[in-house]
């Protein structure tokens, strides 16, 4: 029963991810006085891409054609670990939060290799930039997450969230630092403004798009879906770690429905915030990104230190 629920939750994660990006796009369009596409547009795009025959660059090897599957399944596995509507699901024990970061690293490793595989300058450019940004973002993320895990004294995400729920509403300075750090990392890792612009195709500035420039058809669909999943994963992480209230703690239908409503509401609000910030903030120069990420790293570290100095029980 629990395992079934875990599978259902993972499928729900995968199924809802395009909706979140649709909603984000809808909000952004309205904020920028443009006419918004339907909320279901990302689904239509994915379906269209899946039906098409992929075109592959002539020098590409198996790395290029297999990477989308690897990247997508790494993201699906990551989704299976993160509690979406209920805590205490059995999948959370199979991989803790450090493994979650490992899944992201796995996906990124192959994405960067796929970028280098086609043998054009764009691929290398994207791969180099992505690895630079992520190598600064990954430690910042771990720092933010460690603050949580040290508070809950477990790295099991599900148990940690349950711990935060049990504690009730306690104001922790460390959590505020960690949340800001995680938000900054999430923006960088999901390639949003001001670090990267998901809608740009301007050669000099693109990062994520540069790597996937040669993808088409079902490969592109998988990559797009994976990045939508990643966006949702980070959203759920922020929402459920720092504001876990509403998440189902038993598996009654009532609690689960309430949990689904709660997370939808939280994600919708987070997406509106992201849309506002994307509308207000301009994209940074590439070499400003390091300052941005070191700031995130510093916040994460401050969070951790303030936990150790101020909050720990000794």
């Amino acid at each position: 029963m629990n395992w079934l629920l875990a599978v259902i939750q993972t499928l729900l994660f995968v199924a809802l991810a395009p909706l979140l990006s649709g909603w984000l796009k809808w909000c952004k369009c309205h904020l920028q006085n443009r006419k918004a596409p339907s909320l279901l547009q990302p689904y239509r795009d994915l379906l269209k891409l899946i039906r098409k025959q992929p075109v592959v660059a002539e020098h590409a090897s198996w790395i290029f054609t297999r990477s989308p599957y690897i990247i997508f399944s790494a993201m699906v596995l990551a989704a299976s670990v993160v509690p979406l509507i209920a805590v205490d699901l059995p999948t959370a024990a199979s991989a803790d939060v450090i493994v979650l970061v490992g899944f992201f690293a796995f996906a990124r490793f192959f994405l960067a290799l796929a970028g280098l595989d086609i043998g054009t300058a764009f691929g290398g450019m994207g791969a180099s930039r992505e690895m630079t940004i992520s190598s600064l973002a990954e430690p910042a993320m771990l720092m933010a997450v460690f603050t949580l895990t040290m508070t809950a004294s477990t790295t099991n995400l599900s148990l940690a969230i349950a711990h935060v729920l049990n504690e009730g509403l306690v104001l922790r300075p460390s959590f505020i630092f960690a949340m800001f750090a995680l938000v900054l990392v999430a923006i960088a890792e999901t390639g949003r403004v001001p670090v990267d612009n998901p809608t740009t195709h301007l050669e000099l500035t693109m990062i994520h798009e540069a790597m996937i420039l040669e993808y088409s058809g079902r490969h592109l669909a998988l990559i797009e879906w994976a990045s939508q999943l990643k966006l949702m994963l980070y959203g759920v992480l922020i929402a459920n770690i720092f504001l876990p209230w509403g998440i189902a703690r038993d598996f009654s239908l009532h609690a689960l429905g309430y949990g689904l409503l709660a997370i939808s509401g939280k994600l919708a609000v987070l997406a509106v915030c992201l849309a506002i910030s994307e509308t207000l903030v301009a994209k940074m120069r590439l070499f400003r990104v390091q300052e941005y990420l070191s700031f995130a790293y510093l916040l994460g570290l401050l969070g951790m230190l303030s936990h150790i100095i101020l909050e720990a029980s000794r």
């Binding site: 039906r51 025959q53 992929p54 075109v55 592959v56 002539e58 020098h59 090897s61 599957y69 997508f72 399944s73 699906v76 596995l77 299976s80 999948t91 024990a93 199979s94 803790d96 450090i98 493994v99 490992g102 690293a105 796995f106 490793f109 960067a112 290799l113 280098l116 043998g119 054009t120 300058a121 691929g123 290398g124 791969a127 180099s128 690895m131 630079t132 992520s134 190598s135 600064l136 990954e138 430690p139 720092m143 460690f146 040290m150 004294s153 477990t154 790295t155 099991n156 148990l159 050669e203 040669e214 079902r218 998988l222 070499f287 390091q290 790293y297 570290l301 951790m304 100095i309 720990a312």
Partner: protein, 710 residues
């Protein structure tokens, strides 16, 4: 005693392989020996006498080489056997050998820790013996005699095994020197190149300085005890001050061999110039023997660990890990890069050892056991994947005739097997889930996250910072090995050699890689097997085992408790297979779109994409160079050749980049200058005048007489 037999046999077989290599030019001798033996059985046909067929002139060198490596392989397998037996039997065996000085027989002790390192050496040596015959066949006998290579390889392996067996300081140092000196000759093997000679000299110099420090460290211990056996040294009753001096000396000596920053400089010089299978042994195994020495000295011989020592280890380890990977990233030479990456991994091992020591000194032996276990597991994993990568680099050097990353590219199509195996190595070293590197890193993080139990405020804030550094190191390593794999195997070939490269023909070379890659994957999925064995080591050294690690089923890894952290690589693997398999099947079910169409890559509409437009290694690492600029000494020059009216048109641009270690100008050159200056001062007394020398003798005599009369 049963456990010791295979261990002794492993040592003997490695000696035998070295001695057999000496027979390269002794074919007539062997033949006459065989014939004399055959003369005892006059009834037989001459052609059917055993061995004579193998001694045929034309096939003799090949047969001999194979025999040498077979002996080495047997030695490796026996070492694996002995190591596993020691880990399973969970007991320590002691023995004495009547060799050595008359009143000082060699003491031997074989316990869990030695057994575990025997396992590491054994696996690496077995892989190398599969790989060796194919690799050495290209050496020309006149220039690079096989006798030398084979002899010193055998002695080197024997030396490493003996270090692990030694149970008294005297025997330990003899074995240690055997290992150091034999490997010096291996580094100097291709001595026609002045750079190699220089590297070998630097290696010998630092190895001897390190050995001196170790001897002094043992000396401090021996000063407070009666005897040189480790049992006596364990009983030594040291004050904290003397114990700290012994610790610093041991750290200097073993650290120099292990290659921690800033005493690592010999490592990136010496490892790349040795033949690849030797580099693999040096980087994968010899550094581990140094780690063994440090663990033996600090956790076993020195009775009470101080938390300050742990901090020293932690800080040095952090610097080595970060420095190692940042330097590695800038290297265009593949083997140099791998050598620097060894510095990084040794740094990680030292960090976790430091954590273990801190926990031990603060009275948390169970957490100390966790840290020790993480460090040992990382040593094991590093031996596997670093060997794999070095052996892979050797194949590349053979097939592409270069180690320059910027001259390769597109090899995945020409060398599909090598590239796949190399990819597994890259994924392991980047610590991606499902591979072995991840498990030890995960355990290291788990150790660091237990900092909550400590009371000391300094430690409580220092350890999280080092955990952050570890996270950064891991991410940088991933970036570095994306670069390595991407530039070497993917994209378009950057030189004629890489365009024409072929898969290695020798099956043994690929088999060695397959063995190591298989182990990397296997221990990534079933780490509990090796962790169960490591519990024995922790029990013998610290007296504590991990609570549930072995009680839990083979599927789960939960080092502290299930509530604190758990990881199940098996379930993750099943999940990956289901997710990948399903999407793969689902998306390709339509027969119309199943096949892919090939077309040119996007060239911005200009046409004429070529290999030189790809990112090079210096381009790939440019953002890192800017972000971490202070870490290196960067010398970047752009020269333009001008032509045309008033020299205004650019005809050609030359770009030159040199990235150097800070430790040379900051640490070593001052020392070198100091030594030279001191030598000049001492030189003043050498006037060349016989009367002055007689005067010196006279004064010395007077002083001696005065001393004696006191």
């Amino acid at each position: 005693m049963m456990v010791l037999m295979p261990a002794y046999a492993a040592v003997l077989f490695s000696f035998a392989s070295g001695l057999l290599a000496l027979m390269t030019h002794r074919r007539p001798l062997l033949e006459s020996l065989c014939l004399r033996y055959a003369a005892r059985f006059p009834g037989r046909q001459p052609g059917r006498i055993p061995l004579v067929g193998l001694l045929e002139e034309s096939r003799y060198p090949i047969r001999l080489r194979q025999a040498v490596f077979v002996l080495l392989g047997i030695s490796g397998l026996l070492a694996v056997l002995a190591g596993s037996a020691a880990l399973v039997s969970q007991s320590a065996v002691t023995d004495q050998i009547g060799l050595g000085l008359p009143w000082l027989p060699w003491h031997v002790r074989f316990d869990g820790l030695s057994g575990f390192f025997f396992l590491i050496v054994g696996i690496a040596v077995s892989a190398v013996s599969l790989y060796g015959p194919g690799y050495v066949q290209t050496y020309q006998e006149e220039k690079h005699p096989f006798a030398v290579l084979g002899l010193f390889t055998g002695l080197f392996v024997a030396g490493m095994l003996l270090v692990l067996l030694a149970d008294d300081a005297f025997f330990f140092m003899i074995a240690w020197e055997l290992m150091s000196v034999a490997s010096y000759f291996l580094v100097a093997f291709q001595h026609e190149n002045p750079a190699n000679r220089r590297a070998a000299f630097l290696y010998l110099l630092m190895a001897e300085v390190g050995a001196l420090a170790i001897i002094l460290g043992f000396g401090v211990l021996a000063g407070f005890s009666d005897g040189l056996t480790f049992d006596a040294l364990r009983q030594a009753n040291l004050s904290t001050g003397w114990a700290s001096i012994a610790f610093v000396l041991a750290l200097l000596g073993f650290g120099m061999k292990a290659g921690i920053v800033p005493i690592h400089v010999w490592l990136p010089e010496a490892h790349p110039v040795a033949p690849s299978h030797i580099s693999a042994l040096m980087s994968g195994v010899m550094l581990k023997v140094a780690v063994y020495g440090l663990i033996r000295f600090c956790f076993d011989l020195l009775a009470d660990a101080q938390w300050q020592w742990g901090v020293v280890l932690l800080v040095l380890g952090t610097i080595s890990a970060l420095g190692g990977i940042l330097y590695a990233m800038m290297q265009p030479n593949l083997k140099r890069l791998l050598a620097y990456s060894s510095v990084e991994n040794i740094g990680i091992i030292f960090m976790v050892l430091g954590l273990a020591m801190i926990f031990l000194a603060n009275g948390f032996p169970q957490l100390a056991a966790l840290g020790l276990l993480a460090a040992l597991l990382h040593a094991f994993n590093h031996a596997l994947f670093k060997n794999l990568l070095f052996l892979g680099a050797g194949i590349l050097q053979h097939q592409v005739h270069s180690l320059d990353i910027d001259s390769m590219g597109g090899l995945i199509k020409r060398m599909p097997q090598t590239s796949f195996l190399f990819l597994i190595g890259c994924m392991s070293i980047s610590s991606l889930p499902l591979f072995n590197g991840f498990v030890s890193e995960w355990l290291a993080f788990q150790t660091a996250l237990q900092v909550d139990v400590l009371d000391n405020g300094v430690l409580r804030s220092l350890i999280p910072v080092s955990a952050a550094a570890l996270a950064l190191t891991a991410a940088l390593a991933a970036a570095c090995f994306v670069k390595v794999f991407g530039l070497i195997f993917l994209g378009l070939p950057r030189s004629r050699h890489s365009e024409k490269a072929q898969e290695a023909e020798n099956k043994g070379m690929l088999l060695a890689l397959k063995l190591l890659a298989g182990l990397c994957f296997f221990f990534g999925i079933f780490p509990t097997l090796i962790i169960g064995a490591l519990n024995t080591v922790a029990k013998q050294l610290i007296g504590q085992v991990l609570p549930n690690a072995t009680l839990l089923s083979w599927m789960w890894l939960a080092p502290v408790s299930v509530q604190k952290a758990s990881y199940s690589p098996v379930l993750v693997l099943i999940g990956v297979l289901i997710a990948t398999g399903f999407t793969f099947w689902y998306l390709r079910r339509n027969p119309d779109t199943k096949s892919m169409r090939r077309s040119g890559a996007w060239d911005c509409g200009f046409g004429g994409l070529n290999a030189r437009m790809q990112y090079s290694s210096s381009a790939f690492t440019m953002p890192f160079r800017r972000i971490f600029a202070k870490v290196w000494l960067i010398d970047e020059q752009i020269d333009k050749d001008m032509q045309g009216a008033q020299d205004m048109d650019v005809a050609a641009i030359h770009y030159r980049l040199q990235v150097q270690d800070h430790s040379w100008p900051k640490l070593y050159q001052p020392i070198a200058h100091g030594i030279n200056a001191a030598a000049r001062l001492v030189g003043r007394i050498q006037t060349g005048n016989i009367r002055v020398y007689l005067g010196y003798s006279f004064v010395t005599l007077i002083v001696m007489l005065w001393v004696v009369s006191l």
